[in-house]
Symmetry: C2
Subunit: 335 residues, 2 copies
């Protein structure tokens, strides 16, 4: 079952997004003021709980079924030597995810989340975007559909993560194309290239921008993205129509999400930023889409790791909101 | 069973503290370098896991039995009008803790921690320290003993929290006495006093410093502290001798801990800062004891709430460290 047959189909879905449930938001705000704590004393946890309540349509919600989805893809641009790791590592890490040995497996377990892995045509890398579009229309639409279909409609929270050697180069190119500025400002060391590698990577991004001049946000996703980035975009969109709040992960996830933000204002209102990574451009990118990260722990792994780590924060926020007694219930003076 | 009969007994224990297990630290460092991720890609999670391994004496540790202990006390200084809440709220909140209705109950549950509550002579507030010491020798030693005995030696992680109307004034006075500077720099709004209340609170701290001139750190704890602060200090010390790492909570917990740091260098090496609170002086206090907080979410509730929220971060760090496959195990290229 294919949901989309063209990028314009997907664009129409983005433009038809609804907002949060106003009754649930106001009900959650009222409840928050009655809980046994000084007003505002739980800080951002209070805002998180009210935000979550709004998107779930429930003034006193619970988080019981988080889903972490990892999408993996390979990138033709690795032929330019942009990564410290060989492209074979993408498939090796997919096997590691499937056997439970990666960081994200442990993080999903700690968070009580189920985890799904989707490897997207690893033997068929996207085209090298220094000479033309990474994907044709069919390829990007296929990836969007895979992401869309990967979301469990019964989940009550989603984290999208990725694995793909070369994909910080893709994210840097997308960011530069979406928001302008010098490629050097959006290009970082990824998994750990040296100074010469960073200079090369920056030149590769500059070349890619020239080779792919279209600045429509979804065309940027097609021309400079990769299958795993498009799949994340599809999953984030699906979560919106299923009333499933999303925690964004790091630089690559955020770059994929930013194409939705630029394509349709408010398209990321059901998402929060789980963390800010050590990849320097991530903080700038979060500012461009108006997100304040929950965590800042120097992580730069991808895989959904920062998003999964933030699940515990959101769970805690919602547990306080929905589980605490009110002043009246507890017989506590309001001061 | 009383462990201590005088403050000097306690001082001797502080001065006899051991360091972490060097073999476990080096074993954990070696293991970290072999895990299936780029070196350093988990950021602070890697440092946390190695730190935890060292204090547990196990290069591949697990966190299975966290304990949260809440100590509650009342303060004679509330007669000066330093809090937005009446002192009766201390006992009301203790009842709320016991019935499961407070924020910390929800946070402990999400963290998988057991929670214990110790109310310390709530009907017998400490003396108003604007006219002399808050506690005599017997009172502070009793509170240290209660804290010492409250720690479960089978716990593998400890969070100490507190409840006590008026205790941000105590923490501000302790901080000023320990580290100098103007009282205004260490005095904040606590649960929410207004501008006039803040000015009053600052004058109360200034008066307290004059009325209690002894600058020995443990004497500062006795003269300007409260029973719940001394109990937290006792619990943090007990955790050290039981090889139980500790996550510090907010301003009041950190002020109690800082008396140990000033009394004996390295006395807090088995502790980390769970968060930095919205109480402005907390960040300065953490800098004085050399701690970088894990979380910064604008919380200012106390109760151990910020420490308990950080349990999930530490659990995640240790789960990655001990649960991930090595490159050799997973057959992943090291780049």
């Amino acid at each position: 079952m294919q949901k989309f047959t063209s990028l314009d189909d997907f664009r129409a879905v983005l433009n038809g997004f609804n907002g949060p449930d106003g009754d649930a938001v106001s009900g959650a705000r009222d409840r928050n003021l009655q809980l046994t704590k000084p007003p505002g004393a739980l800080g951002r946890l209070e805002d998180l709980a009210i935000w979550y309540a709004g998107w779930r349509g429930d003034a006193r919600p619970h988080i019981e079924r988080p889903q972490v989805i990892i999408f993996a893809g390979n990138h033709g641009v690795t032929a330019q030597g942009v990564s410290a790791f060989p492209p074979e590592v993408t498939a090796q890490m997919v096997a590691n995810f499937q056997h439970g040995g990666a960081a994200i497996n442990q993080l999903a377990t700690v968070a009580g989340a189920k985890m799904d892995v989707h490897a997207l045509e690893l033997d068929n890398p996207t085209a090298d975007f220094t000479t033309g579009p990474a994907m044709d229309d069919q390829a990007v639409v296929d990836a969007l559909n895979i992401g869309w279909q990967a979301v469990d409609p019964n989940a009550d929270l989603l984290v999208t993560g990725e694995m793909g050697i070369g994909n910080t180069t893709s994210a840097a190119a997308i960011s530069t194309a979406l928001f302008g500025g010098d490629a050097s400002g959006w290009t970082g060391r990824g998994t750990g290239v040296d100074d010469a590698g960073l200079a090369l990577k920056t030149r590769v991004v500059e070349t890619a921008l020239v080779a792919n001049p279209d600045r429509d946000p979804l065309e940027i996703l097609r021309c400079l993205g990769g299958r795993e980035l498009a799949a994340m975009a599809g999953a984030i969109a699906r979560a919106r129509v299923e009333n499933i709040p999303v925690i964004l992960d790091g630089f690559i996830c955020t770059a994929a999400a930013a194409t939705l933000h630029q394509a349709s204002p408010g398209a990321l209102d059901h998402t929060i930023a789980g963390h800010v990574s050590a990849e320097g451009a991530h903080r700038n990118l979060l500012q461009k889409i108006g997100k304040e990260p929950l965590l800042s722990l120097g992580m730069r792994l991808g895989e959904g790791s920062g998003g999964a780590l933030a699940i515990g924060i959101l769970k805690a926020a919602v547990a306080c909101h929905s589980g605490m007694s009110t002043f009246a219930e507890a017989g506590v003076s309001e001061g």
